[in-house]
Point group: C2
Chain length 292, copies 2
Amino acid sequence: MKVAIVGGTHGNEKTGIFLIRKFLENPSLLPAEHQYKLLIGNPKATESHQRYLDFDLNRAFHSKVILPTDYEFTRAQTLQKEVESWSQDSPFFLVDLHTTTSNMGPSIVLSKKDLFSAHVADLVLKQNPETRLVFNTRSESKGHCFVESMAPHALLIEVGPVSQNTFNPKAIESTETLLKQILGAIDKVSHQNHLPPITLSGYQEGGSEPFPKDSKGLVAACIHPQFQGRDFQVLKPGDPLFLHRDGQTIAYDGKKELHPIFIGEAAYLEAGAAYTRAWKAEETFTDSSSGS
Amino acid sequence: MKVAIVGGTHGNEKTGIFLIRKFLENPSLLPAEHQYKLLIGNPKATESHQRYLDFDLNRAFHSKVILPTDYEFTRAQTLQKEVESWSQDSPFFLVDLHTTTSNMGPSIVLSKKDLFSAHVADLVLKQNPETRLVFNTRSESKGHCFVESMAPHALLIEVGPVSQNTFNPKAIESTETLLKQILGAIDKVSHQNHLPPITLSGYQEGGSEPFPKDSKGLVAACIHPQFQGRDFQVLKPGDPLFLHRDGQTIAYDGKKELHPIFIGEAAYLEAGAAYTRAWKAEETFTDSSSGS
């Protein structure tokens, strides 16, 4: 099958960039079953060690708010054309390699209501029970703007915790292992004559929750010691979320049990976000749910 | 004694920023023995979650290469004037709060050939044997450009590993503990009538070592799994340093045993640095070595 692998969608997530360059130099390190397109998503941000220059590339595809003068506006168009020219209208799979500063371990994010992608995710989860599946499919109906929107079939890899702008061997190894499990699963799924409907268990991603702020709008609390690093673990009403500068513990006052992710993610600080709401969910994928 | 505490010398190291704001709001949380000046070193970089805007503030004091148009040029002058106006020529101690993405634990950096600062460091090390002492005194003779250069007596705190732009409770607690140990030690030392010469054991900081590069000048190797996280631990000739993209291990080919620090530090990637050379050292401080 045709498989596009993208690293450096965010220029300060060096793990994917390292792997793309490694495979460009040694294509034989990738399983021979597929035809690959290896891409650095945001080359200028990669060069300057920033997440992005003007606009987050992973929110830039068909975005209604990006400016035509933003570097990522042009970059998204260039990527789209390059991928279209390579895929020649044949179905293909896209894997986007990301890292997080949060303690999300090896995880995969499914943002498409796509049966093929769901079967791939299913095989990966069965192969490695430590890997977590995040559903981000709700955004699709609103017209999401991810790099994955270029492809009929796709998964996003999130590995953490790892600091931005580090070439960390553990994150690289973990990402490479997960990528190869995905590539193996793509091969298996592509050889099935019929893909039955499938129901997957994972974590539905919701919106982000802000840090408590002071009167000047500045972050006034840190992540609570009992919350830090507990990505994917249960958060019950009354559980501690933040430790305020004044020494007070701020508890979760929602009614719904959550399993938060991206706890304290550095990239989301500019938006004031402290964590992303998520909860255990099952999602069913059928032929008709497929976007391709 | 008069004590200046600086956080946010680097705008993406949020631990010190959090603590400065905390103490500004609740000055009574600081020991009552001292008169404090609490400062955010680089407010604009803090606001934009960057290390610096135009030039590293912690290399900006009396720097010969900073441009007068750089924000940090003016900021360094403003800080200097504010501190001079507060200190009124009386001796004071400055503590600069930093974090690192490297596994440096709680550590203190002594960049002054100063007997008073050395005695403070000695008491801190005795109180907490986990804390490491780094000597950066060699740079003083060359006219170092640190924030500490404003003060006759100073120590810098480095705590890690912690990601930039995160409000991490562990890093905040560790830094606050170390800061309070320093403040306690300053009080004790300031009450001694005579400070005898003292010899301290620590790690002498040398220059940084680059990542292996490819023909395009891009980082071609990650930190080796056996080197990652081993800050302050012994590195012997032949020990693995890097894992090249081609799969080869690159070993340390020096002859001298090292105890490297800042292994894989994110902030040093823009300079291409992979780690900082350091080695076990003893340094003697006498009255005449004092800069004040």
